[in-house]
Symmetry: C2
Subunit: 214 residues, 2 copies
DNA sequence: AAGCATGGATAGCGTCACTATCCGACACAG
DNA sequence: CTGTGTCGGATAGTGACGCTATCCATGCTT
């Protein structure tokens, strides 16, 4: 398959594919001649994954490059590679801008979160991980706005999140090979986020209608 | 309080506040003289909300303007206003780009989702709502990539989402006034998204360590 | 042999969220 | 009353990002 066909089958413009090649998101095809390259089904799949990460998962191009490089890195052990999705991602929202003050709200948030993680026994993945920083920033913002964000409510949400994680890993374990599991770990982590959030919004609308009458 | 103090207290640069004023995200202060304006606590609160929506919730400026306008619109009834957060938002990820083909994957996804919504009795908020479109796009992408996305798994997630929505509305009902509830509906919908996603990632890491050994 | 498509390189575009600069009008100190 | 500084408002510019348009030499296709 040549570039034009890859474009046709994926729906991605050739100029964009060239851009992804240049950026190292997509390996180049096998050179047939000086002006021709051949792409296979693997390229098509990778291209769709790239698009999904960038467009659906809103992942920056640079991040996608790092994540995909890690996915391809056979030097790493399975456990590290499976964790990459959860680590390399700015995902939902970045942490505080560099130099943002460590104000009262942030300190309260940190206490709340550390208490929560201790309670759950999730202390292994504490400060320093992107997810922790994102959580901290979001909770601090909630506090700064004066919205309720107490321990019991956070605990309730954390337990719900644990259910989601269980469902996620049930899916992962269903996959045959390790390579597939690693790629799936990234893809499912990122792509199920909009699914989860959309379902939450639909459920909210439904529940709101039930409670406040429609 | 004058612009400079508003800036100091919120941590937002004056130039940015001026930008928000210009864009209609923040009402102008009371004019003291031709070159002076006075801002109150309400302005500080609104400014923080704007920042939160844009930076934490990643909401486009134009969307934030619409959402805030609707929040302020006292002509609307409570139920409509409470729904605004769930409706006005491109939120997690946009729907398909205009002109994206209605391919096989999309059709399968639509069937899957319609079946799910029917099963749950959530048919009131079907096609046409942003959440539905986002969900459709994400599920279609998963299918296109060959990842599992079957009815039982979606149902499981939907039930979890319903738990989140319940928790959300429990929080909302705890607020005294209707005005507060409306603003909180927007703020909590948007700001709890990164909280939920971060918790999911932490839970994933934890569960992954448990299953695959760390 | 003609003509067009190909892959690669380079530079440009459109959007978005700010941000830097300038300006005339005031406030306030001396 | 005068000088100095700050204010709010307007306009244009910036930097990041994700593409996208153009050009070119090559060489496949007919």
């Amino acid at each position: 398959m040549r570039l034009a066909e890859l474009s046709a089958r994926s729906g991605v413009p050739t100029a964009t594919i060239k851009f992804y090649l240049r950026e190292g998101l997509l390996p180049s095809g096998e050179r047939i001649s000086a002006t021709q390259a051949d792409y296979g089904g693997e390229h098509l799949h990778r291209l769709r994954l790239v698009r999904a990460l960038i467009q659906v998962g809103r992942m920056p191009v640079a991040t996608a490059r790092e994540v995909l490089a890690a996915v391809d890195d056979t030097e790493l052990d399975q456990h590290s590679r499976l964790g990459i999705a959860a680590w390399s991602l700015p995902g939902p929202a970045q942490g505080p801008n560099p130099g943002e003050e460590d104000d009262a709200a942030t300190q309260t948030a940190r206490q709340e979160i550390d208490g929560l993680l201790e309670h759950l026994g999730w202390e292994e993945f504490g400060p320093g991980t992107p997810a922790y920083e994102t959580l901290l920033h979001a909770v601090a913002t909630l506090i700064r706005l004066g919205y309720p964000c107490e321990a019991p409510h956070l605990r309730r949400l954390a337990q719900i999140a644990a259910q989601v994680a269980e469902a996620d890993l049930d899916l992962l374990e269903g996959l045959p090979s390790e390579v597939e599991q690693v790629e799936a770990s990234v893809a499912l982590t990122v792509l199920y986020e909009p699914v989860l959030l959309s379902l939450r919004r639909l459920a909210q609308a439904e529940e709101s209608a039930r409670r406040f009458g429609g």
